[in-house]
Symmetry: C2
Subunit: 411 residues, 2 copies
């Protein structure tokens, strides 16, 4: 046979995603298939909805995964909410604000962007002033911007949106499951999470939630799928029809409700995986989980600084689950990454656009966010940098991280 | 813990999909994650492309999965090819022709439908006459229509499309891997397959292929994603831009090429699954695989007829991997299905629209298509029908199937 048995190396994955999947999640995926309308399976679908609500800290009824990668969830929300000509305000502080813009634009939005320097975030007041100026239908923002490792405070902006009856859509792909995402308290109307980051479930599903304000909008645009509607019932034109079938949330609502109106065929094994990943999150407890992410971030940051490397970006708005490091003068960042991968089986990330070749990004997310990995990456990075003749302090990084762990045990 | 350990019943799944996944595929999904740009992973992506080419019997360069369920593949092809106002001819002979119509309509196509009675297919000459009348840019057709269990001959229509420089798009979701789908020989420009049917890979990916004619169209509509383009390079407007980001095949081409331009995060575990499923298909060999599907279909059909049940639809265009049975007068089809599931752990399907409550559909697809399952479903269906006081011949169904298997062994 030309194609060999699957035999992937066991990597230590310290990127901002995809990260190592939870072993229990991997085992869950090996479970035999159930039919999509098998009562055992639809029961699991309902349980998954409940757990997604807890994950997003929301009482919203609508909470389910979209069958595609994270950006499929983003596109489903934007495509279903945006009608051609709608004003959409998107403040950009990194690559993924550009992605929100790209998607909204393709669905015919009239886009209003404001940008701030990469490595920082917006003063909420600045965004609110722009909302008052533009009077958009929707404000869409990234919560955790992995390209720069920054996190935007959302509560004030959410409150301002709600007061003004503006929809607030949040890309929480990178933050969900690693830090607080308080959908209800922050007045977020629709939020999108990612699986392959702090949930440690493989890429391929995007949990989303939206509230009754969004539901009302979707119902105005609803059209039953041709071939499923009762004869004659669907004949009147729907001029506001959502311009995609796969991402039509009004149809997905029927699929994720007792009607179980056929749409796609739910991705069985990925649903098993997401369900198991959510069980693990809720067993650990959100507060404990966020504290764990914070602890390992501290250990990593102390180690990096003890080595004499410089962190990138404004520390006051650092995304706790991604640590960005300025590549030292004269060091080839890609050569360092290659040696980490080839000699140490460790993957860390580079970045995009203006930051390409300027920073490394190390994720501490989900199952990858653990002591073994942090100590391994610090030791290996030191060794590789010494091999590249970087001027760093030898022997200090792992010690600094161990200090953090010891101090934590004695608390 | 409120949510219990995953513990799905082991069902015998004899629907037209999703069917039982290959055990080797399930095990492959439990393999630890690799990063999306890890050379080990991109090598697997390339191998998967090669195997998809063999599956579709094509020399096309472009052959890769779309990360979503089967209809995601269909939407990716139609969304990327259709521009508002394009004439698209869609002959309908069951539910999934309506789905093609629904999707094409949402992307602004000017739709031309012809319909034929459910349970039959089109005389190719009729379709070709309509092509000459409508002069469409695209003809889109379903190859294997699971809702009615029919299969449309495509070669003549494909030839006619090519002569007239019309694009021919084929939904081969139900047929791929179970019967011949000869993309090149039949002059198909773009084809979409499904994973959860004859490939016996869980739902969640859609292998597609398209030729250089389609590629040329896509390149005319290409726009690099905002936030990835070199500064300034992307400033000129692209009036023909594809109206979706997630399903933009021109961007997916960059992701599935040595450029590896970042788009979505490839669904790692599903890619492992698809790769393993394709290995199994190619190890078995397409010819042997189709012969196996045909053998078990024969055994099932002989058994059903020996019981005294009536097959639904025109036998001359029966889809070999789906067998439709007319529900006998006075029998509650849903009650029979429920008893099969609850007492025998067997799932068979009902159908849609005008056929709802009128027929049962039994799939013989992929890993589910084996002697054990065929004998089990025949025995169980007989027992359940007797329990429902149906007038059937007792004791004959399994014997008739065994006769088919014995005759085959002696050949």
């Amino acid at each position: 046979m030309k194609y060999r048995d699957l035999n992937a190396s066991t990597r230590t994955i310290m990127t901002p995603g995809p990260v190592e999947a939870e072993p229990r999640v991997l085992r869950a995926m090996a479970t035999p298939i159930l039919g999509q309308f098998d009562p055992e399976f639809t029961h699991m679908m309902n349980e998954t909805m409940e757990m997604i609500r807890e994950l997003f800290q929301t009482k919203n009824h609508w909470a389910f995964p979209v069958d595609g990668t994270s950006r499929a969830g983003i596109e489903a929300v934007l495509a279903s909410m945006i009608e051609p000509g709608d004003r959409v305000l998107i403040p950009i502080y990194g690559r993924f604000g550009h992605l929100l813009t790209e998607i909204a634009e393709r669905y015919g939005a009239e886009i209003y962007n404001i940008e701030t320097e990469w490595g920082t975030v917006f003063d909420p007041e600045e965004v609110i002033r722009e909302i008052d100026r533009v009077q958009p239908k929707i404000v869409a923002m990234v919560h955790g911007e992995t390209s720069t490792g920054r996190m935007q405070p959302l509560q004030e902006i959410g409150g301002a949106c709600r007061e003004r009856d503006v929809f607030f859509v949040v890309d929480a792909v990178a933050s969900i499951g690693g830090v607080d995402v308080k959908v209800d308290e922050w007045h977020i109307d629709a939020a999108i999470g990612g699986t392959q980051k702090c949930l440690s479930v493989p890429s391929g599903m995007a949990p989303i939630t939206f509230n009754s304000r969004v539901e009302a909008l979707l119902l105005e645009r609803k059209k039953i799928e041709q071939g499923l509607a009762e004869p004659g019932s669907n004949k009147k034109a729907q001029p506001r029809v959502i311009r995609t079938n796969y991402f039509d949330l009004s149809q997905l609502m029927d699929y994720w409700s007792p009607a179980r109106l056929n749409h796609h065929t739910e991705a069985t094994s990925m649903l098993y995986a997401l369900r198991e990943g959510l069980r693990i999150v809720l067993e650990e407890g959100l507060e404990h989980r966020f504290a764990r992410h914070s602890l390992h971030e501290q250990a990593l940051v102390q180690g990096i600084e003890a080595m004499g490397l410089e962190l990138y970006g404004d520390p006051s708005c650092k995304l706790p689950v991604v640590t960005c490091i300025t590549i030292p003068e004269g060091i080839d960042g890609e050569s360092v990454r290659a040696m980490l991968l080839n000699d140490f089986d460790i993957e860390i990330a580079s970045s995009f656009g203006p930051l390409k070749g300027k920073i490394w990004r190390i994720g501490t997310m989900g199952y990858s966010c653990r002591k073994k990995n942090v100590l391994h990456v610090l030791g290996a990075l030191e060794a590789v940098l010494l091999r590249h003749k970087a001027k760093i302090a030898a022997g200090r990084a792992v010690q600094a991280a161990l200090d953090v762990y010891e101090a934590n045990e004695h608390r």
